[in-house]
Subunit: 209 residues, 2 copies
DNA sequence: GTCTATAGTCGGATAGAC
DNA sequence: GTCTATCCGACTATAGAC
């Protein structure tokens, strides 16, 4: 019945952060959520610190694969905005974004934790970058902007929207993604779709990496 | 020598959140930072909760006026990005953005605190909106997008960039704002500058509210 | 591997001297 | 208005029974 105990503890940790926030996440609170004894945490992880690190890795690696599989077929900026909006909505409903922002805030004044969290987040940014490369970098506009900065900014935008939405849950943020989709479509119209001629650019192959 | 005691306590609270994070902010830690007795907090504010609320208001109202005075002269999107980048850089260096994100994260699972923080943040979003109104809403593009959503997204972008920058302080984020400035300039070129004719829009008065 | 019990620290908050 | 002293609950972590 009980799967791996370490996994059970990590899942209880996730549930605790989602419902109590990082400031309310203690060994006792986690044990209450998972219905096991508090001392188990220290037997399996040694410290709360180590448990939080393990929790970061567990949740991050689980999500990145889903994102990758869903976004690899995307071919226009409007599609990107639409799929990203859908994924983000799922994550919101499951509390995954709250989990992330709470872990981030809790790591801000702790260098070791921050470095660890950034490492788990890096593939995410790199992956937004890859998607952008497919859609923009092959156009003449690709050379105009630093794609790393844009990928970083887009990732930050999602994080920021979530953090602020958590503060104001009554105002639905679905329209924000609709608006972003409109904007992306307008932008796409200006730069032209990949694989389709426009007045201002030459036809190019889209590199498959 | 000592100004208002309440102010001293609030300033010690700000210093504590900046250096210890929201999870490390306790009555005792605040008292250490401000070099006064812990009991003073409860005499003047009644509870930590109330002190945090007062701190939110204090810091928010102080900054919004500065932002307003600096941004009211802005007339193009590129200028907007430039001035916003400068202001944001100042805030970063003073730790004000860390303060904000930490307060946000700490308020996420506390409805009363969240509502309070959102209230102090609302003028900020409204004010980004006013700036956008001056720059975009008077063009034909104004009708295409929900300006509230865009103002919300821009505010969220800054918050998100900061939260992520806090995790990765070594990678300088100055280039992010340079890139945003470039993007804004390109966008401006497409929609045309306010007060200047373009092929696709009629001349309009910019309403002064 | 999981539990109870407990040590030791730190938290919010109050009473009361000055 | 500011301090000392203190209550009491919650915390991390460990020792040791089972």
């Amino acid at each position: 019945m009980s799967p791996d105990t370490k996994t059970r503890i990590i899942e209880a940790t996730v549930a605790t952060i989602k419902s109590e926030g990082i400031t309310g996440t203690s060994a006792r609170a986690i044990a209450r959520h998972g219905d096991f004894n508090q001392a188990l945490i220290f037997y399996h992880f040694g410290s709360i610190e180590e448990l939080l690190r393990a929790t970061m890795e567990h949740t991050s690696s689980a999500r990145i694969e889903l994102y990758r599989s869903r976004l690899e077929g995307v071919e226009t900026l409007a599609d990107l905005a639409a799929v990203a909006g859908d994924l983000h909505k799922e994550d919101r409903e499951q509390g995954n974004m709250t989990l992330l922002t709470q872990l981030m805030a809790g790591a801000a004044n702790d260098e070791v934790r921050a470095a660890h969290l950034m490492t788990t987040f890096e593939p995410w940014i790199g992956f937004v970058r890859e998607t952008l490369d497919r859609l923009i970098a092959t156009t003449p506009f690709g050379g105009m902007f630093d794609m790393d900065d844009i990928a970083f900014s887009i990732s930050a935008l999602f994080v920021g929207v979530e953090l602020m939405s958590d503060l104001d849950p009554e105002r639905s943020r679905d329209t924000v993604y609709d608006t972003m989709q409109l904007l992306a479509g307008a932008f796409q119209a200006v730069i032209g779709e990949p694989g389709q001629d426009t007045a201002s650019r030459e036809r190019q192959e889209i590199p498959v990496e």
